[in-house]
């Protein structure tokens, strides 16, 4: 996994609450056996008409958000299915950071395994960011080390994150390798339970 320390990028505002993983990546694209190539299907049913043409009424298709790498959305982002295809699609499309007032917890955990930083900020701040990004090309700098979100003006917010997840992402560690260092403890546990 690629480490993530500081990320500066263009914000894409998605002013919707309870965005579920069925919307992030619809089920017809879950049949593939690879991890890559899901970006083209991100928000597919919102992005495209039945004939595969981009929908004008969905803002991600707007030229001004081309190259956006920071997604800002409403509360409970990523609810529903556990499909890791959701962060795979976001990452493959180019998103590195997702900001929301709250996240569904399987999605939240899945992000860290894929080099995406989910940042929880207060609802009024998220609304402010959404409004800014809807008005103009708006960039943010997200610093994981300092746990801050800044714009080029006066905005500076701090966010909470568990030290374990922070360290994993900062270093891009392979979690399985970390756990396998504890193999003796797992052996011991299995001996204790007798099976």
């Amino acid at each position: 996994m690629e480490p993530l320390r500081i990320h500066k990028g263009l914000v894409y505002p998605l002013n919707r609450t309870n965005v579920d993983t069925d919307q992030i990546i619809p089920k017809q694209f879950l049949k593939r056996i690879e991890r890559k190539g899901f970006g083209q299907f991100l928000f597919y049913n919102w992005r495209f008409n039945d004939d595969g043409q981009p929908r004008e009424d969905f803002s991600l298709n707007d030229k001004k958000y081309e190259g956006a790498s920071i997604l800002v959305a409403g509360e409970n982002f990523g609810c529903g299915s556990s499909r890791e295809h959701a962060p795979w699609a976001l990452e493959d499309y180019g998103f590195k950071v997702v900001l929301a007032p709250s996240f569904a917890d399987i999605f939240y955990n899945n992000c860290f395994k894929n080099g995406i930083l989910p940042v929880t900020l207060k609802e009024d701040i998220i609304q402010h960011l959404i409004e800014k990004a809807e008005m103009e090309a708006y960039e943010l700098t997200v610093n994981l080390e300092e746990q801050t979100v800044r714009d080029s003006e006066e905005l500076q917010e701090t966010f909470e994150i568990s030290s374990y997840q922070k360290e994993m992402l900062l270093n891009g560690w392979d979690e399985i390798a970390v756990t396998l260092k504890q193999a003796d403890k797992i052996d011991q546990f299995e001996q204790n339970i007798g099976k």
Partner: protein, 472 residues
Amino acid sequence: MEKPQTIIDKIWQRHIVDQEPDKPDLLYIDLHLVHEVTSPQAFEGLRMKGRKVRRPDRTYATMDHNVPTIHRHVIKDQISKTQMETLKQNCEEFAIPLADIDHPDQGIVHVIGPQLGLTQPGKTIVCGDSHTSTHGAFGALAFGIGTSEVEHVLATQTIWQQKPKTLNVKVNGNLGKGVTAKDLILAIIAKHGVRFGTGYIIEYTGEAIRNLSMEGRMTICNMSIEAGARAGLISPDETTFEYLRGKRHSPQGEDFDTAVEEWCTLATDEGATYDATVEIDAEEIEPQVTWGTNPSMCIPVSESVPNPDDATTPNEKEAIERALDYMGLAPNQPISSVEIEHVFIGSCTNSRLSDLQKAAKIVHGKKVKDTVRAMVVPGSHSVKAAAEQEGLDVIFQQAGFEWRDAGCSMCLAMNDDVVPPGERCASTSNRNFEGRQGNGARTHLVSPEMAAAAAIEGRFVDVRQMDSPVLS
């Protein structure tokens, strides 16, 4: 005397492999269930690093999401076919038991785990599927995980978990006639919203829960994830033990009695405290129907869909407007006036034998309305066989239902069982998200009884007013 504990604390404590400050706990996993959709990339990850599956004997796989429920071996979609073949190859390579499409044990992963007795009280159970919470009905700590975590569990038989807070959902009194476990969980989510469980493990307690069958309890725990909870469970009791007695993977003979003694120690102690508690009165609950695009957008069948003008916040107003637009409904429209074109009885929420029995009682001797296409998809091969032994297949087919083979089917429409754009389905599944049952499809979540009644009438009716011999 030791401090009273909840079942959640007890199971958690008994599975800690490693615990250090500022880190999640490393938990041991007793049972890892695997299906075709969320596992291929995990096995590929193992291969790339030259890793093994630590405990194939604690791992069990089946195919459910993609499988056709008719013409079982005609899989037109090559990508689906490859995904199923990939699971078969992976299970062979890593020596994992697999109930594939032809196997008599095949079925929806959350139906077959309990049915085989793999699901037991006190176990930690994971699966790359959010509805893993279903197994909590047995007093197991069961939760959904992503594919990277599937790979982690395959390689290490453990998972890193920050301990969630505990939430007691206490259901007082008893459900009325014709009101089911499905109505109860929908009513709970309607009242408290789709994220009241976020950050929590729920224990369901109270008289109404105690009086539910194991099947009803599975329906409740299944939808814990729709409330955002990490898991949902119910302390085991006689109902649990009776269900497990004689199941293939349950302890047998004297070992069973010993196991029951141990399982009895799991139940939440008198006086144990939770981080939060909500209470609900079972007697107040009516049969429910969802009107919108998440499971909290739900009303009693006697009521009308909301008006966006009555919303208390701009976000809520916008969400109601979007949902009504997607669902093709008008503000204040009575839900009983809504006509449906499809009925789906199935899914890990409601496809067990008792679900089918209850639906069959409603349709017995009646006909599905001619504008409705209705299907029953049993949760497993063995549910199907048991239903056929009782003649339920004949009752359904004579009424005009299609009688299918086991799988996830129209709950998420990954196979050919799809609701066409703009059409409406009364569904016993768990999610009414946009496009869930097909692009543009409109889903209304209901109980099996309510779905059966809707099939006959072509619209939502209060099942309690149906002319039906037995309603329990």
